[in-house]
């Protein structure tokens, strides 16, 4: 019997009674979410939370979450929880953990890791070598987990996929782009737009690198690609939105607005002709005045006067787009969808939009304030009561959650997980490998002809869930759990100490993977574990593998609630 099973502690009911004190008073308005907020934190059959550490007693006003509540929070806020993460949240509470994460300096950048790992050579100029390793490594091994999760949410919104970046050293171009997202994950959305719009990777991806002003001799006009997707996908969307994210009938722009804005994105070039190193791929694009449109540029009711420089035109254009009232609900709702739930209530979206509009000190677009508000909102924190709450975990997060829960690492630093895009024998999704600027899944995806659609709900991640991919995921994870990939492997030392008691084992696995299993499911998994005698060859490992794979395959786990 493990020490955990031995140390039964106060029940969840005892612990969660005054949970509202940790949150905003607005929580009281959301009665339906609140009434059940003490319901499902533990669930019978799960192991009780470990005793709180004796050091550093929390301030008395903070109500500490249970381990189960911490696990659920970390499913929303990280790429996966390690035991240490769980203990940390449970010992300091949500807000202090968020502060620590917000204040944690950016760790090794993607760019620097690629350089240090030796990928900046002429041998890699025409390959993608290093890209999958650098992406997986940071998601799994970097301690700035909130930044990783928010950065990946931003990559779902401001999409670049490496296959669409036709650059020499494209792995460096995309690495630099993901660094921009990670660097700005807690910054201001306007500043992020500036860096995204001058990123060489984006210039390649949405084809405005090399875009030229109209040429009367050939009849050629500026490329409209970035102008369109900047507005449609990255900032304002196609229809006017209310602050709560609900749609109005009016469309936000016309083809004439696209044509007008396209004139801004002309003259963009790499800032150096030195192609002997990847360096220019991490510096903002420059604007060649000779190819920048000199006439006036009219869009969204704004006119940039003739003769305005490229840099000034870009600033004015981004200011105008950023000022659009759609930006707050458009970005806020999608961030909620990426972190918490596919179908947030309009009131939830409205509360976050309000924070986007004003962080409390008059600043608009403060992503740190937005992320904090999303994760501390009562709709995120109180136990879900509606049978549609939550979201399908995207396959990338299932892999990283397993890896972080069981201390996976790559001693050789090769991180040879590779491209996991195959729907036939991998995950059907791979970081930084979206097939188009429309991402792996759309925020408005409605699985057709399903009760979800009938209910008027969306389920974005179901766009990549189909008959082959749901099976391929289990096949792939079964092999990865047991064998790893190259020298990328889990370290099961800790969990093996629990292998002897199936209930304890299953409880711990469930806790590490988000604490979502029902008592009935845990009982079923424990019975399967007990069908393997610990005394047979590799019995302990097989019991651990069984508990993990059955959890990872269970719909209760797959839907993050």
């Amino acid at each position: 019997m493990t020490e955990e099973a031995a140390g039964r502690l106060p029940s969840d009911q005892d612990e969660c009674e005054p949970a509202d004190t940790a949150f905003d008073g607005a929580a009281l308005a959301g009665a339906s979410f609140f009434l059940a907020s003490c319901g499902g934190g533990g669930g019978s059959g799960s192991p009780p939370p470990a005793p709180p550490p004796s050091s550093a007693p929390p301030p008395p006003s903070v109500v500490l979450p249970t381990r189960q509540q911490a696990a659920r929070f970390l499913s929303q806020a990280t790429m996966g929880a390690s035991r240490a993460d769980l203990d940390q949240v449970a010992s300091v509470g949500f807000e202090a953990w968020l502060d620590a994460q917000f204040n944690m300096a950016r760790q090794t950048s993607h760019w620097d890791w690629l350089v240090s790992a030796g990928y900046a050579t002429t041998a890699t100029i025409n390959s993608q070598a290093g890209f999958d390793p650098v992406m997986w490594r940071q998601l799994i091994a970097s301690p700035d987990q909130l930044r990783q999760r928010v950065g990946m949410a931003l990559l779902d919104l401001l999409v670049v996929g490496i296959d669409g970046v036709n650059a020499p050293w494209r792995q460096f171009a995309v690495a630099a782009y993901v660094d921009v997202l990670m660097d700005n994950a807690f910054g201001n959305f306007r500043a992020l737009l500036q860096q995204v719009s001058t990123s060489p990777a984006m210039g390649y991806y949405l084809t405005f690198l090399g875009n030229r002003k109209a040429n009367p001799a050939t009849g050629a006009v500026p490329d409209e690609n970035y102008a369109r997707e900047l507005m449609q996908l990255f900032t304002i969307g196609l229809v006017r939105l209310n602050p709560d994210g609900s749609a109005q009938a009016a469309e936000t722009y016309t083809q004439a607005d696209i044509t007008g804005l396209a004139r801004v994105f002309t003259g963009f070039v790499l800032d150096s002709s030195d192609n002997s190193t990847p360096d220019r791929l991490r510096r903002p694009m420059a604007i060649n005045g000779a190819q920048h449109e000199t006439g006036s540029k009219t869009f969204l009711g704004t006119t940039i006067s003739a003769g305005t420089s490229g840099a000034d035109s870009l600033k004015l254009a981004l200011d105008a787009i950023f000022a659009h009232p759609n930006v707050a609900p458009f970005v806020s709702k999608q961030l909620i969808q990426r972190l918490v739930t596919s179908n947030p209530s309009p009131a939830y979206v409205g509360r976050i939009s309000a924070v986007f509009e004003n962080n409390g000190t008059g600043v608009r677009g403060d992503l740190r304030a937005v992320v904090r508000a999303i994760l501390l909102d009562f709709e995120a924190r109180s136990d879900p009561v509606t049978p549609s709450y939550g979201k399908l975990r995207p396959p990338i997060q299932r892999l990283t959650a397993w890896a972080r829960a069981f201390n996976a690492s790559s001693p050789s630093n090769s991180w040879s997980i590779g491209d996991t895009s195959s729907t036939a024998n991998r995950l059907g999704q791979s970081p930084g490998r979206s097939p188009s600027v429309f991402n792996f899944f759309r925020p408005g995806y409605r699985p057709p002809n399903t009760p979800i659609a009938t209910a008027g709900l969306v389920a974005p991640e179901f766009q990549i869930a189909n008959e082959p991919s749901v099976i391929a995921y289990v096949n792939y994870m079964q092999a990865l759990v047991a064998n790893g990939a190259g020298d990328f492997r889990a370290d099961y030392t800790d969990i093996l100490t629990r292998a002897g008691d199936s209930a304890v084992l299953v409880g711990e696995v469930d806790l590490l993977l988000g604490a979502q299993l029902s008592a009935a499911t845990k009982t079923s998994i424990a019975a399967a574990v007990d069908s393997i005698a610990i005394t047979v060859a590799n019995g302990s490992l097989s019991r651990v593998y069984t508990a993990i794979v059955l959890t990872l395959a269970s719909p209760e786990y797959l839907i993050q609630k």
Partner: protein
């Protein structure tokens, strides 16, 4: 019939008015069962080839007579095919186009030229999303409803496939399936997608079933044990497919159950089928998908399927840039893949029973942005198969212009033929009764019934 297809039959028979009120169902059902057995060789398949990204019409089906070519080359001087490069793919229709007009296929589509010449390939000109017949003045004055969110990829893909923008809950391939799935032994094998998920393939009752290019994926190679335990394996299957109260969990279980339920049957049928001798090109994902479609058609009888709708796709057509290098590569793959698929249907003896057609988000501008083209609207499309009335163009060649009578600026074609008419023509061949066509394609009701069938198949 399985339970599901029987239920589908009863519901759809009622919808179609086939179930006589005086006839007890059971007798009717028995009669239909016999009829089905008697016509077991009656088989038809529709294959939708979706070119994601918005295919550039002008460099796919290119004006070739000198006057038209000159106008084309003037309007997109930096991204035009050379006229010489088109000589080998110039098309000679059965009946010459009025005014001496000629078209040539992109050079990469050369494998399709013999099919055109043999009357197995037709070209529908300027097809696109519409709500109702729309003139340019209607467009300018917005005096008729237009498809919402024109020029937006995801929404126009959806409108093409489903008559509604993103968020649509069924598509016309699936709605055809609704009406005809009762003919199949397993209703779930009616709408088969070889490229993931697409709203096109979901009906109001018909569900899409997705396969990889190698067919279904077996769970853990159909192992009977998980880490040595049979209970582990049975628990795995139980958990993956268990009925859940939570709406999202339940949907995941449903997809998984469908996958596991059908895998053994479909894989076994595929394994038992003779290998196709037709060579499909390699390194061509569209060819990979069309190959599994051909293989599935080859076992349709074993699987009890008489009416099937398939969906395949290829991405990369959003050629804002590098159109002279990227687009020819893509079309070369399309040409090789479609030709191989056609040849496979000949090998299987089902050429007359399989009709394939292309679709895409939208066409593109005729004018250039220096090295690419931008989002447009109407486009030209291919219909291929032995039942096709080929070696012909359907519709009218659009006037080549920048803001001329047939375009809404920059050569973005205002569609003259609607997707609804295009779809209705295909659906009619497939066996959808005239009275049900507006169920499949609701906006068809805005058209004069005499124009519903474009006549290409």
């Amino acid at each position: 019939m399985t339970d599901q297809s029987r239920r589908a039959f009863l519901r759809d028979s009622a919808a179609l008015g086939l179930v006589g009120s005086a006839t007890p169902f059971v007798m009717n059902l028995a009669a239909i069962g016999e009829a089905a057995a008697a016509t077991a060789t009656d088989y038809k398949a529709l294959v939708c080839i979706f070119l994601y990204g918005g295919n550039d019409y002008a460099n796919t089906v290119t004006p070739y007579d000198q006057a038209s070519y000159d106008q084309y080359a003037r309007l997109r001087s930096t991204i035009a095919h050379s006229r010489d490069s088109l000589a080998a793919t110039a098309l000679t229709p059965q009946n010459p186009l009025p005014g001496g007009g000629q078209f040539a296929l992109a050079p990469g589509l050369a494998p399709l030229v013999p099919l055109f010449d043999a009357g197995r390939l037709a070209i529908a000109l300027n097809v696109g999303t519409l709500v109702q017949p729309t003139s340019k003045s209607n467009y300018i004055s917005r005096s008729v409803p237009l498809p919402p969110k024109l020029f937006s990829h995801n929404d126009q893909q959806s409108f093409w496939q489903a008559s509604n923008p993103e968020g649509a809950s069924s598509g016309w391939g699936g709605r055809i399936g609704d009406l005809l799935q009762s003919a199949n032994g397993a209703a779930t094998l009616t709408c088969i997608n070889a490229s993931g998920n697409a709203v096109f393939m979901s009906g109001r009752s018909a569900v899409q079933y997705s396969v990889t290019s190698n067919g279904p994926v077996p769970l853990l190679n159909n192992s009977t044990t998980l880490f040595g335990s049979t209970l582990g394996m049975s628990t795995l299957r139980m958990l993956m497919t268990q009925q859940r109260d939570h709406m999202l969990e339940a949907e995941h279980s449903r997809v998984t159950k469908r996958s596991l339920d059908l895998q053994a049957q479909v894989s076994a049928a595929l394994a038992a089928a003779p290998a196709l001798t037709t060579a499909f090109p390699t390194g061509n994902t569209l060819a990979d998908q069309l190959r599994i479609v051909a293989r599935l058609i080859s076992v349709s009888q074993e699987l009890g399927a008489r009416r099937q709708v398939f969906f395949v796709s290829m991405g990369g057509f959003d050629n804002h840039d590098s159109i002279l290098t990227t687009h020819p590569t893509l079309l070369t793959r399309v040409g090789a893949a479609m030709r191989a698929f056609h040849d496979a249907t000949v090998e299987l003896g089902v050429m007359d029973r399989v009709t394939s057609f292309t679709a895409s988000d939208f066409g593109r501008t005729l004018t250039s942005n220096a090295n690419g083209s931008d989002h447009g609207w109407g486009s030209h499309h291919f219909v291929m198969g032995g039942a096709v009335r080929g070696r012909a163009f359907y519709g009218t060649p659009p006037v080549l212009a920048d803001n001329g009578p047939d375009d809404v600026g920059q050569g973005r074609l205002l569609p003259a033929l609607s997707v609804d008419q295009y779809g209705a023509t295909l659906a009619s061949w497939f066996g959808v009764p005239a009275g049900s066509l507006t169920t499949v394609l609701p906006n068809l009701a805005n058209y004069n019934p005499s124009t519903w069938n474009l006549g290409f198949v």
